[in-house]
Amino acid sequence: MPLEALNDFVVKFANVNGSGSASANSMFAKAILRMGVPVAARNIFPSNIQGLPTWFEVRVTEAGHLGRRGGVDLMVAMNPQTWDRDVAEIEPGGYLFYDSTKPLPPSKFRDDVTVVGVPLTAMCNAAYQIPRERQLFKNIIYVGALAALLDIEMGVIEQLLGEQFAGKDRLIAANVAALHMGRDYVAQNLSPLRLRVRRADRVGDRIFVEGNAAAALGAVYGGATVCAWYPITPSTSLAEAFTSYCEDLRTDPETGKARYAIVQAEDEIASIGVVVGAGWNGARAFTATSGPGVSLMTEFIGLSYFAEIPAVIFDVQRGGPSTGMPTRTQQADLLAAAYAGHGDTKHPLLLPADPGECFEMGAQAFDLADRLQTTVFVMLDLDIGMNEWLTQPFEWDDARALDRGKVMTYDDLEAGRDFGRYLEVDGDGIPYRTYPGTHPTKGGYFTRGTSRNPYARYSEEGAVYVGNMERLLRKFDTARRLVPGPIARNATRATRDGVIYFGSSTPAVHEALGSLEHAGLHLDALRVRGFPFADEIFDFIAAHDRVFVIEQNRDAQLRTLLINEGEIDPSRLTAVLHYDGTPITARFITDAVTRLMSERRPMPEAAE
């Protein structure tokens, strides 16, 4: 029996990289969004310019589940290379849409899948002479055909085409014609599917945006004026978005000059060097990178920690180790970022779960870096960073002031305030600093990575060194109260089981928790949003017999960090790990937690 669903199904496009399918597939997703039906879109692409397989998954979800569900209801199979695995991935009763120009043997199909063939290549060859046009318009034709099969409003797609090619009427007309070609073929030759899209009102005022763009906008609002970066997937679009936003929002209207400086550095080391120099001199500065970049930056990160210089690093994580899977997602830089450096170092981490939080934390990171005078990491990943997510609109309070931290001014120095660059004054471990050039005779000091006394004088005295290191620990403890706290989500029934998770796993975890509840498995949940860990996190662990820690890496890095920082008995934390490079799915979490819970005690159903 073919699957039947209204506003609740998964479509996956299997394409060849470089075939120009990305914008067509994205338009398909946005059209459904414009009809008021939430979508969750994921681009799964190779580290390659052209020729290798690429996929784009669109989850149509009136219920608003924004993680991946798992499984595919309609496969748009446009890549012969991956045909077999694509067909195998279709749910029983699902649909297979393909280019039927060339006949395929029956062995290439499945009996339990409805096959929908459209002779796309033949249609393109008949309509277009130029090879590139044949390829590009094929994508638009299949969007037209799918719209007719799924009942997507044609006018919405036409409007999107108009926006995409604004001012280029010839392109708009050509694309609309291709769209209609696909629609008309379906109308004349095929019947609509039992998967349907119907206009709804479930999107509200939410926006659809990439996490990298959101974080970049957060940096603009957070007052960042210096950005130094080196291209690396998946962080590059963050720096590019910052450039674009700055051009629009940070140009002095009177002079046309830039209230920002952006340098594409020669490498990651120079990038963080520029950031450290700018931070030392009182500007808000950041770099965007990924795991390999963090490795290269480590020496400077240690300097930032010890010399106490503000810096912000957006780490858009990808599949490691080494070059690993550079265009796939993981949450595998957690330990590298938390402890980056030689000797004893610790750095605050912010862990956004969606683009909305990327914006908020993107701005907040600069206040924290200035307040704490240290490197602050904002830990995105490819899934959040490079995919468009439906998220709450960005908000900003115009009354919000930038927190510059403890900076002693000319007047402070003139008033005779005792200035010791590394002097503990307020009991929070955070010393005062001066910007270079503040005062002719007071407040000057020498910054160095070597040990020094509270007045910044070089010192190899053991007691002086220990005192300084202890103060840095107090400062880190202060950070515990400043980073975003965890968010709890209690089960509907009292339980001794819990889950801890963070970042891009969040929507899939939330959906899985619903499924588990439905199956009678109740778990309290806690989403970690910052490091150092708040006390509530350790209280949560203490309050539950067993806690599942869900994360997207092989070695359970969050679990390790919890055990290390909270001196937790490892047996209390059970790892649920997904690290194949694709974003975690609700189905994976549900299955894993169900299995693990059944190993410990009989399933509730079995016990009854």
Partner: protein, 351 residues
């Protein structure tokens, strides 16, 4: 680095400059380098140059990497902020500092190990970006702190203190700076203060990437027969192409038009360089010619010193980036936050 403060006693008859500062106000801590180290002479030249230029000491930001040379910023301009960064990475930190506040004067001090080995990339890129700075390499051709290994500027065929012959080609930082687009390039010798002080003054007045390669003998490890960076060798092979004086903008300018051998060059800030030609036909405005001249003389075993190239119309990184005239670190919420209304428009564009 070790730190020994200097006594505060001043000679009552020390002459103040236009700002009322005496030469002592430009000094720093007592040097802990070896007695006779060329680096101390360079520190002294920096002090003299800043004093003569009437620079407010606290408006100079002095940055360095790691090594003997990088210790020296502690020994001059004691009221300035200094930053002893990490090995070879001073240029990027200086670049960031400069981006944050274009109003300060940036002095990068480095060594041949720091700039020609681990930091070669950062050296080159800071130069090609036109960062407004004076970048001085205190070049002794040897690793002093780690006791005498060759550095990348050691000349091929030169000999270490232990008698080992260097088989690797030496990197000529002056040629590299010229190729990378430095707009002020000079070489000097720590033992020639008459040449070095005016060069430093001119370089500090230059807007753009100014580079001085200063041969600075290491008395402990590289001041022996067989070294090409020893006092004796440099004195015997020094070929100065010119001598110069700098008349600062704030001094009434009178130009000596001595025909034939003195060239007046106006700087961005209004100061005037008086360039006295010594080498016939040498033209410091010809980048290509300078490279050719350097290499020809180098082949003869000569060390060419003086102002080797100058572009008085140079642009700096801030000009290239089109940044506002005020320091970026002085901008407040009003200039930085686009506000809630702009955000509402962005939200609308994302639906």
């Amino acid at each position: 680095m070790t730190y020994i403060t200097k006594p505060q006693l001043h000679h009552p008859q020390l002459k103040p400059n236009a700002l009322g500062y005496t030469r002592r106000d430009y000094e720093g801590a007592v040097s802990t380098l070896c007695a006779g180290c060329g680096h101390d002479s360079i520190s002294s030249a920096i002090i003299q140059a800043c004093y003569e230029l009437d620079l407010p000491p606290h408006r100079v930001a002095k940055l360095s990497g790691i090594g003997c040379s990088s210790k020296t910023p502690d020994y001059f301009l004691g009221n300035s902020h200094g930053f002893n960064t990490v090995h070879g990475r001073m240029p990027s930190v200086l670049t960031g500092a400069n981006l944050a506040n274009r109003d300060l004067i940036y002095l990068g001090v480095s060594g041949d190990g720091d700039s020609a080995s681990i930091g070669l990339g950062q050296f080159a890129h800071s130069i090609r970006r036109g960062v407004n700075m004076l970048y001085i390499v205190e070049n002794n051709g040897v690793y002093g702190l780690t006791k005498g290994q060759f550095s990348a500027t050691s000349d091929k065929g030169s000999k270490s203190k232990k008698g080992v012959i260097n088989h690797d080609a030496g990197i000529d930082l002056v040629s590299l700076a010229l190729q990378m687009g430095a707009t002020f390039v000079a070489r000097s010798f720590s033992g020639d203060k008459n040449q070095l002080v005016p060069l430093i003054k001119a370089a500090l007045s230059h807007k753009g990437a100014a580079f001085i390669d200063c041969i600075s003998p290491c008395v402990q490890f590289n001041n022996h027969a067989g070294s090409t960076k020893s006092y004796d060798y440099v004195r015997e092979h020094n070929e100065a192409v010119n001598r110069m004086d700098l008349v600062p903008a704030r001094t009434p300018i009178t130009i000596d038009y001595a025909p034939g051998e003195t060239v007046p060059v106006a700087q961005h800030d209004g100061s005037i360089l008086h360039l006295h030609k010594l080498a016939e036909h040498y033209d410091p405005s010809d980048r290509v010619g300078a490279l050719a001249y350097l290499q020809a003389r180098q082949a003869l075993g000569e060390i060419v010193t003086g102002l080797l190239f100058l572009d008085p119309e140079a642009r700096d990184l801030h000009e290239n980036l089109g940044t506002v005239d005020v320091p970026l670190n002085s901008l407040g919420e009003r200039e930085l936050s686009p506000g809630a209304a702009a955000l509402a428009r962005i939200n609308a564009s994302l639906r």
